[in-house]
Symmetry: none
């Protein structure tokens, strides 16, 4: 699966180590065994990247679980063998990375399970609300959690939002301009605020409409209208806007394709993990 | 105050924009006014960096509030004037940055207020549990929220943790080795698990002791004993370990110098903000 | 020994995996042990490259046999430990590579053994009739089989063939032109069709003559004449042209230095191998 | 039809030419006519790619036969007009390519003729056992020979093999997981070992079942049972596993849809061809 | 810790292996276990680099001791598993590297122990008298031995030596010019020959003075004078010039900060080590 | 004589100068005369390379002595005229190089003189125990000292050592394999441990035998036996293994051809030299 390259991982290390780990220097040179333990039930992400970081500092790694695994509290994730000072110097960086990514995967999996329990065909999608510099890793964690990656950046699909529509004047003109510039090179999604815009978007050939910041009943109403006019079949429907575990079930039961949840990546709860040195 | 340089901010932009914002391309060239609005009560951080990003894409920025300000819901943070396509292309990046940093500052301010209400001399400190690549910005947000930055990385102080002590054998030997290698170049802090280790650390001349993962009553007991032996005056005392808004008051009333809270940076709740184009 | 670099190996992987292995995605995340088993007697080649591919996808590899080893049917070649989905995603690519390269090494070894049994000083050589994109790997497999690599490409020696002679007019003029342009920078080999051309080539100082597409008796006759004139000692002699296991012994008993066999690389019979997941 | 792009063809050339063809340099600049002659009866493939290579080095090409044509021995395939040194420099690369691809097309045509003689509705299919880097070209040659391309890579259909079933536990669970993850986005094929697995696969809605490494009588038995239960009509049936010209007729007479043959691409016998310069 | 990159390590290998190890070729392909044994008591350095070299040739490595460890005679340093021919081909290169670096670390540790026994605050420093091409590795070995790295090259501090002073005219002018050009960007050290120059340097604000090629009694005299004038506190004092194990104790007991020893890197005594193949 | 090319010399310079010599910058631009003085009696090596380095930075050089000359203490080796800042910037690099190489030549000359005084036909040989990256220069210094260069790398002769014999099984089989693979292309030397192996090696046609790590009396015994059997005349004899100035005379009086001494290059004592600026 996609990931960042080694230079990014080295930059993460350098951010913490800087001119040198002045504490680990006080440890006598020795080879130790250590392990990373997950302290709470979670879906694990970041194993690939953490392994690569350990190898960058000449440690051997053996895996106990795989990226995307669901584990119970107190599960050993991987074992590391190498120079004590190297292991301690990278400890915080690897934990910061794996705790965040596992937090994303865990929350994603939770939402996916909730949604699939009532509507197996609905996908939980991530947004671009990721931490600056961590887009690819955050998105990968979403996929490992069972979610839908959605666009990686501004470059891979057309998503016409309210600000674009305001500037161009109408949904119809916005779609037409996109088609005239890009032809069929990119998927076109349009954020719509009401039934009229939704109809306009479908008639103009949008691939997906996003119903943003609408209540579940407003959403339901619009989709029903589209269905009754034979328009629902012609587009994918995404709902978004302040959806989280407290209200996702209201949307899950609707006739939608994607529920996108900004909180998955913008307000990550880190999973509790630690690196333990084996005596 | 410290911050990242422009190359880092450009890298944040490139991560999102990649080969180009294929949606904003559909907007006719025009100069617009826009503003960033904070949708909920918060302490704002990231104004400096967001302003620099806008200037990197040739937009003018006027500030309504300053970094570190506490604002009510629906407050305008800054106004931007420039090319519509540039503003829309950087929208997501600047919001991601400011929503995270303001989340950190807001939560820090909340904890600081709680603590200061009972014990004005206690500081709330950040840890190194930051998102990879965002250390400096996360730490700066803590300071804007009123917290203590603590060490920026492994290079700027000696912090002897349990794994170091395990490998070296005792608190005493660990401190002695640190002094023999570094002399007085770095502040020395030692994580201790009980009274005996605490006494050992103080007698060996540690600058700070960290009481980690102890209950507030255990913590209180140890500090009282140190005070009774005339040792409390000789060190700073930091408490840490799963402390958050739910239990920080138990520690705030104690005779401590720093309460460090990993959650401030490892589990950030983003503040809700949006970029609005003025008609 | 020479090999391709990681970017080539990654390109092999991407050719098969493309936008993702949609089947392995259905496997629950887990760490497995697997092994590559050779189903028939063979000389193994490709272990280095296959190991590097597995490491590129974060798997640990332990070797059971080395490149160039002759193994019996049902021998385990290497053991792999890693994420099931990664191992399954690269399975076909690594098998395709090792099955082809081992096929080349096995057939080369067979011809070398046949030839050496009657004439230990004769070498079996590969040609440039390799699969496009696989030149270096195909040639390396020949060497692991005990054969002679011969030229890697058009850049490393002068080999004047019939078409060059036709265009230049004579063997003599061709060799003289080569010497006038290149001096003694490159070895010069000349393809000759009969005794007269052979004599001409030797007298002009060719390093090697290639007797191409001649019967073994014609070949023998020409070499005997060269020997009787004291010319054989002054050149290396290579024979080539539709030689394979069915007729190589006719040439092996002659007074030649190299027998080159296009079939070694242009008509490879893959060795049967499989990747087995250990329960 | 699909093919590789020019950068791939250029890379093939560069592999052979490297820093320069030191032999062709000795030829005086001149324009010549040359032709590619097929020395044996064959089905020709690679004409498009070879023509493009000649044009990349500024030669004109006129075709005598088309891709997919069946030719007799000593047929001229194409004529080339251009700079002698360019033609000689690309000679080996174009022959290597066309000899391999024609070998694939020829053998495919042979198997297809055999099969169609007894059962016109059965298709001969290629596998993914292609030379690394040559997937698209190898598959195209299969199609030119009259065969079925089958999947191009891991990305374009779900093919559940024994290793996947071992890891997931049962055919049923494997298919269910595939459907739950991919919906109806991909065709689903399942490798089955016996009647029970075959029934399970059909009942779970597999699009195709692959009977792998079974004797023709076992295969016949299973298909008859499926037919008797009314299940045969609901799936395509593919047979595979060490099938080649020696035993394909045993399978051709059965009630199957596809016979896939790894040997078509993993053990290619090159067709004998040469480039001849016209005097 | 700092090190060289893989391209440097590969260049070391290529220097020895060149066009191929013609002896190891005669060994039948096989996988072996081997170990590196230190034949005499020593401080080990070079483990990181040697491990990386072994991995570059596809061998697995397990560590027995860590860089900087002090070992007794006949200690196993690391174990290697891989292709016999690869291990034998890199044997000499890895031993040359580790024997030199361990020689540096061992001699450094010896001097450090001597000095610390009488004056724990004095540091033993390396000079730039390293083998060409090995600066970083030689300096790293010094640090692993417990010494002070001092400047890595001409680019990281100002060190005004006798030749500079001769050309500029006086210590005072030299320091002033340095300050006017560089401001406070670099530390400034000045080599002084007598008390007068020492005083001049301190008064001009040198960070460090180097008393070069003076006897220990002359050195003592100058430092006493500086102390009596209240100047000693304002600078670091380095002594240098033909100091080795025979006379270092004369300087160790003085009121100095650094004793630099060229011999540590310019006249290295290699530690005796061998690579042993396990039967 | 062989040497490294300019790019290697430039790399040596860049290692020290890096982003610039911040000290020499403080010197006013001026042309100076300087000289390199040898402070102790020595055999000089490195003059060619040092001269080339000075010319690379546009200085003129005049020689006082030639490479390989034996000089007394305080002899001027060469005079340099050029820009003061250039001379000072390369000072350390050229001294490091010449001090090492002269150390090698001096120690070689000393051993050669000792050996020749009792046995003029015996040669003192270097090994491959050179500093990584300095093979050619170290070997050249040996030759300038009067020693024998021996092999430059693994590519220029066959030297069968104990590890090879262990893996192959016997001296006889090892030599036979070497001859069958390489014919007479390379000289073959074999390390032997006792008389039996020595006889075996001679009878199999080894060109040289190496008696490694044997006492001088054991060595003498084996050679006498070979002589008595008429085998000594058929091979060259090399002795090696922890030989240095303390014990070389024991071996020098024996009937040997080469005495190889690892210490010549692995534990170099640098000759004391300095660069002096002429007032």
């Amino acid at each position: 699966m996609i990931s960042v390259d080694d230079s990014t991982l080295k930059a993460f290390l350098e951010e913490d180590v800087g001119s040198g780990d002045v504490t680990s220097m006080i440890v006598e040179p020795c080879i130790i065994d250590a392990c990373i333990v997950c302290k709470e039930g979670a879906v694990i992400a970041g194993i690939e990247e953490v392994s690569r970081i350990f190898r960058l500092v000449n440690c051997n790694v053996t895996y106990s679980v795989a990226d995307g695994s669901e584990v119970k509290a107190h599960t050993t994730i991987m074992r590391i063998n190498g120079d004590a000072r190297s292991i301690l110097a990278v400890e915080r960086t690897v934990l910061n990375l794996m705790m965040r990514l596992s937090g994303i995967a865990t929350y994603t999996r939770r939402l996916v399970s909730m949604v699939k329990s009532v509507n197996p065909s609905v996908m939980v999608a991530a947004t671009r609300k990721t931490a600056p510099g961590l887009r690819i890793l955050d998105k990968k964690a979403v996929v490992l959690g069972g979610g839908y990656m959605h666009r990686l950046g501004l470059y891979d699909m057309v998503l016409i939002k309210d600000n674009h529509i305001t500037l161009i004047g109408s949904v119809k003109d916005a779609i037409r301009r996109a088609r005239s510039i890009h032809g069929s090179k990119y998927t076109i999604e349009v954020e719509v605020k009401n039934l009229q815009q939704a109809i306009e978007a479908v008639l103009e050939g949008a691939d997906t409409i996003m119903l943003d910041n609408l209540s579940s009943s407003e959403t339901e109403q619009i989709i029903k209208e589209l269905r009754s006019r034979g328009l629902r079949e012609r587009v994918k429907v995404e709902v978004s806007g302040r959806i989280d575990e407290s209200n996702i079930m209201e949307y899950a039961r609707l006739d939608v394709d994607y529920i996108s949840v900004g909180k998955i990546t913008h307000s990550v709860r880190a999973v509790d993990m630690s690196l333990e040195v084996n005596d």
